[in-house]
Symmetry: C2
């Protein structure tokens, strides 16, 4: 540690003990941009391991890899926290086509939604009813929907500046479309991909059947935005065309997995815990690079950057790589449950789960008083253009920690490109920019440094 401090003091030409917050934060950013490790870790997670669906072999390889990497950092403690997770299998590649007349078909790109049941072994073929909302189902009723495939085709709203708002405004079709269409006797559901771009990639994501009995569940798949446009325009010309799809996904019993955790124990207030994290699982179609390998590698680098910058935390800083955000949130729930059981005192938790793009700011789920405190730090982030601090929202995995006391926060990167990659085969390492990822890691480290130094305001 002494060497690190000396090295850091040398770097910026002053004794680190007398550094201002500005100077410490500059050291953090310099270190991330010239000697960051987030990019290298993410390369491995994306390219050597790849998609990390909960319960898969890849997810377990990611647990092992990140634990080993945390072990190398010389933290005070590294451990695995067991958690049972769902195991859903996509099975053989899906197959789908539009049939204009018997024998005349056009193949289209689909991807089974996570949690979907299989089609019958020979697939399902039916007429298609295009709708733009779940409410439309009730208007159409069983008469119009029975025996049909329901095609949800409401696009994300391109005029919303924050693309997560556009996602929030469209994702009910994917999340509840199958459950709702079942009620009217539909035989399958096709959902326009949650993607603002017109391209050929289907975007998967969870669908939730609620309490629909297993034998009543109907198969659901996402269709690429280009093919959604095609299907819609063909339906306008001829409402009698048929849609065929086949998928043989399967839900197996839960399996054992782990949250990966490492910590630097606080030197003065070890019982005040600060958490930084992302989720280690991903969907299976891409490399899980933006969602959420980026957040994991950034969170790991927060602890390394603190050490490299010569900072000895007063409070306990913990990195948590949560398992199973995508289709269960079991890791987030388990972590919070354990924390409660042990009576742990979390003062601040920060999640990065919105992509590895240029950081624009943070969102905070906290009281007005607590928000005042973070606003007092905002000027420290302005030189890095990370100066959009908003109230509301944090991250899914840290949500279960909410207890009216802990401050929850989310890193807010630029959102414009995120849904080009989200849950699709395009979410690969080549879509990551090294500097953008490193700026995010540095911004997170700076905020953790401030919470560690000053504690929570009340």
């Amino acid at each position: 540690m002494k060497q690190v401090i000396l090295f850091c003091a040398f770097l910026i030409g002053v004794n680190s003990y007398s550094q201002t917050d500005q100077e410490v934060i500059k050291t953090i950013f310099n270190t991330s941009l010239s000697n960051g490790q987030s990019y290298e870790w993410l390369d491995h997670l994306s390219n050597q391991i790849g998609g990390r669906l909960s319960g898969s072999l890849n997810a377990e390889r990611a647990v092992q890899y990140t634990k080993e990497e945390l072990d190398k950092l010389g933290l005070d403690k590294v451990w695995l926290q067991p958690v049972m997770v769902p195991k859903w299998l996509r099975g053989a590649p899906e197959h789908a086509f539009i049939e204009t007349t018997p024998g005349e078909t056009i193949n289209v790109n689909i991807s089974a939604l996570g949690g979907s049941v299989a089609t019958p072994a020979l697939g399902v073929k039916a007429n298609v009813v295009e709708v733009h909302s779940i409410e439309e189902l009730e208007i159409l009723g069983r008469e119009k929907l029975e025996g049909k495939i329901v095609f949800f085709n409401r696009p994300m709203d391109p005029t919303l500046i924050n693309t997560f708002s556009a996602y929030g405004g469209a994702v009910d079709q994917r999340g509840s479309g199958a459950k709702e269409a079942t009620k009217y006797g539909a035989v399958g559901v096709i959902v326009r991909s949650m993607n603002l771009r017109l391209d050929d990639f289907p975007h998967t994501g969870g669908t939730n059947y609620g309490d629909t009995p297993i034998n009543k569940r109907i198969p659901a798949a996402a269709i690429s935005t280009n093919h959604a446009e095609l299907l819609s325009s063909m339906l306008q010309l001829d409402s009698n065309i048929k849609f065929y799809f086949k998928q043989n996904c399967k839900q197996l019993p839960d399996v054992q997995s782990y949250n990966v955790i490492g910590e630097i124990t606080g030197s003065e207030f070890p019982k005040e815990i600060i958490v930084v994290g992302g989720h280690l699982d991903s969907w299976d179609l891409g490399g899980g690079s933006h969602d959420d390998g980026a957040g994991c590698s950034q969170s790991m680098d927060v602890l390394r950057l603190l050490k490299e910058s010569g900072i000895r935390p007063k409070r306990t800083i913990r990195v948590v790589l949560f398992m199973n955000e995508e289709n269960g949130l079991r890791g987030g729930r388990k972590y919070a449950e354990n924390a409660k059981l042990k009576g742990e005192n979390h003062i601040f938790a920060l999640e990065s789960d919105a992509g590895g793009f240029t950081p624009r700011g943070f969102s905070f789920d906290c009281s007005d008083e607590e928000f005042k405190q973070v606003l007092s730090w905002k000027h420290l982030f302005e030189p890095y253009l990370v100066h959009s601090f908003v109230k509301g929202g944090s991250g899914a995995d840290i949500g279960p920690l909410k207890d009216g006391k802990v401050v929850l926060a989310g890193l807010r990167p630029d959102t414009q490109r995120y849904f080009d990659y989200h849950h699709a085969a395009t979410d690969t390492f080549d879509a990551i920019n090294k500097r953008e990822l490193e700026l995010g890691a540095a911004a997170m480290t700076a905020l953790v440094y401030l919470y560690d130094k000053y504690g929570k305001s009340n």
Copy 2:
């Protein structure tokens, strides 16, 4: 026009005459994001035309294409402004290798710098002296440099948040390296590409021999960052290795070209002119997509978005697509010269020449009083996160308009990825994100709308 106004009023549900600035700007952003044309124009410029080096056939095709497209917009006036431009040819593909021992070679990726002379027909082969600054040449002197190839290898500084600052801190090696090395009898210059990323692509860009007599000029080329690292590490092992390169570029006499100009004539103050523009020429290695097809297509869309949003400008709004920014700035100079000759009154000029990425704000070259005015508008841009307004800097092409009265401004997009593409074969349309480009066009339109509505403060 009436139809457009009615359409717009319908869009936002209020009569456009009573719209607040917030409402008008929202309409502008909505229109750009849901019905923009910048992306389509840039697709054509990048993919159907491609790199548009001054004096090339492609540059002339771009002049013709953009004039035709402006003609279709129903502007009040569209014209070509003649300007003589340099015509430099790259010639046959460059070839270069490192020779460890006679006959043992490793090919490396280079690109002749714009304006460079050719090597002798058989190429040039010599020992290499690696330096990190122009000042180092004087210390080494003729004794160490005569007959050698000088290798400038100072990287861009990764710790600077604004990558244009990092570019500014390294580009003297490319701009003046050849001119300076000539003085000490060097036979060639190799410059590390202006690129923050380690990759295999050489990045070209202008070099300036100043008043070095033509027969004394030595050839200069950029080397990819990966191969710069390789060459440097090989030199550390053995300073006797040789470098070979061959290029047969050529400077031809100046040729006729054009600035492409279109305008909406002001309804109340037609003699107060607002200019918005980018440069139509590009280097030849990529598609000139970020540099600066993006700025051209955004600027064209500013006039279209004003019309589509039902705004009838009081002042004259002019789009100028400048020719020959990259190796001469002849278009920018010609435009300013003509404006002066005609006694035109430019009140505001805005350039987009920093890539088609998410807009972060604007820079302003203006008085303190004038800066106060734009700061009073800043809150209007905050909902779009385009809220970094800084003083200093605008754009190269509009620079010659500076007269102590006109306010000059530059769109400031996110800078993190820009130098991955700048002047390289990677600057292609697939590196453009449609929404990011459209947000930039909308932000520019909003600022032009405000200057048109309120005029200049003094």
